[in-house]
């Protein structure tokens, strides 16, 4: 976890609000899912910005280096970030 900043707490992606930015520190999940995330551009060390959060536990839309990705709330909970 070379991207981890020891002074900042790692929290789930779902704790962010629309417009907030953070650094991804861990993807969680199994190998297959992690690979899928990475091939979509969602990797450790990247900066994510939350674009929208759908109501009623709907998906989160985020932006990672210009790619927008919609991701279910449950999956997003397992992705850990550090606020910047």
């Amino acid at each position: 976890m070379s991207d981890m900043n020891p002074d900042e707490k790692a929290v789930p992606l779902t704790s962010l609000f629309p417009g907030e930015r953070a650094k991804i520190v861990a993807l969680g999940h199994g190998m297959g899912r992690q690979r899928h995330f990475r091939t979509m551009g969602l990797m450790e060390g990247k900066i994510v910005e939350i674009i929208a959060i759908q109501p009623a536990r709907g998906p989160v839309v985020l932006n990672v280096e210009g790619t927008q990705i919609a991701i279910g709330r449950g999956m997003a909970r397992h992705i850990l970030i550090q606020k910047i």
């Binding site: 629309p18 190998m31 297959g32 690979r35 899928h36 990475r38 091939t39 979509m40 551009g41 674009i51 929208a52 959060i53 759908q54 109501p55 009623a56 536990r57 709907g58 998906p59 839309v61 280096e65 210009g66 790619t67 927008q68 990705i69 919609a70 991701i71 279910g72 709330r73 449950g74 999956m75």
Partner: protein, 573 residues
Amino acid sequence: MKKISLMGCPNVGKSVVFSRLTGVNVISSNYPGTTVDFTKGNTRIGVEKFELIDVPGTYSLEPTSKAEEVARSMLQEGDVVIDVVDATHLERNLYLTLEILERKKPTIVALNLWDETKHIGIDIDVDKLEKLLDVPVVPTCAITGEGIKELGSKLRDAKPSKTIEPMPEEERWLKVGEIVREVQVVHHRHHTIWERIADTTVKPVTGIPIAIITIFLTFLFIIEIGNWIIEHLMDPIFYNYYGPWIVSVVNSFSPEGLLHNILIGKSTIESLDFTQSFGLLTTGLYVPFDMVLPFVITFYFMLSLLEDVGYLPRLAVLVDTGLHKVGLHGSAIVPTILGFGCNVPGALATRVMETGKQRFIAATLMAIAVPCMAQSAMIFGILGRYGLKWILIVYCTLFVLYIFIGLMLKKIVRGESPELLLEVPPYRKPDVSTLLKKTWTKAYGFLAEAVPFVILGVFIVNLLYESGVIRVLSTVFSPVLTTLLGLPEGAIGALIMGFLRKDIAIGMLLPLGMSAQQLTISCIILTAYFPCIATFVVLLRELGIRDMLKATGLMILVSLAVGTSMRLILIGI
């Protein structure tokens, strides 16, 4: 003939590269049986002829869905691979590129969306990338056609890479990082104003109203323009020119009798009857060409437009929460919308769903509650004359069925319902020629598939009536039809025809002299009770015989139940 596989991640503009390479006047045919999987087309580069296969987009060769499995097997088929890479997202696209190169097929890389890299401040050293990958790399901009010629001429230089050897996944990611650091420089930039505007379509507060307006305008376009084509083009052709001509031709050699009836029914020059005569050359052609084709064209035009602009993924995000309640997720909106065109591609598109449970639910709900365009066109056609109210009753009932059965299936079907994970691509300006080509291919596909079946259907109708079989069947099924559903005995003919073609089946309701209530009930039952034969065959292959039996049982139960309840609501006891 050499085969070229066109591969790449989703949303890299692969289809545009495809249509650029194949040109306008090629016959690009859908691969038999797997219509939505991949398109094939022939192309001539220099003097050599090639067969080009447009493989569905995939992020990696380790498949996570059935559609990606197809992509992997298609890689093996090609003699040469064109790997289309999104130059604006080099890092994540290179993973698939490395995987392809590891297979040691002759490969050439198209660095597509090249013009956009400049707008957003990305510099890529093409020569260095070429050296590192050890295969030709050609910058392209498929939408303007830039670089496509060079891609074609460099095709002969495609070769297996010597520098990229098979490696484990972790190492591949490191390699990707290494290459990107060497060839790419990214200048920092901010969100543009256009991106901010684009974001409003995916934020719930603004996105949901925009989605409702978009869907409403889409339907308005399909119906209004479709009607316009019928009124100003198709009807005049049929009633002023074709009708009188065909009647006089048939009269000249067969003024009456069996052959006359089978060919043109009871039509005369004075009273042309295209809808109720049930002649092969009257109703058999009028239904597909006049009543259905105009709506098929407007439907596929709008669908292609929404698809090419990039709106569908946003719609998927917005409806995701709702579809979760029925055990699906946002991506299921695509097979559903396709189903409104034709259930066959809709059934195939359920492959985008990850699990068997989701595929079963998506396919069953579509077969029960989503009428295809041919069917919808006929529902508008025969119920429209009684007023919009009846059409709305049909569609609202089907919508309620979709939700109700979905809620139930989510509970009882075993398996997983994973969550949405979907890339939302940037909006793109659609390419008009690609758009028209897509629309034409789909409309042509409809005609090629529907016309023979409709004519066969009309022929069978004639046989059933002329031979008296229909009278026997009417008596047998009359308890269910009249007592339970409140329909005339003759409706059995339509229900039988519904196995073959739904449009003709609905057309058969007309001569029965039913009330608006009875017609409404019949339209609902005809939608829900069984898919047409073409859809059935595809579903059987996709779901397997056991799941298909379950789905079929459900369809019959549901249509009897909903038919009986609608009878009680609309007609009374």
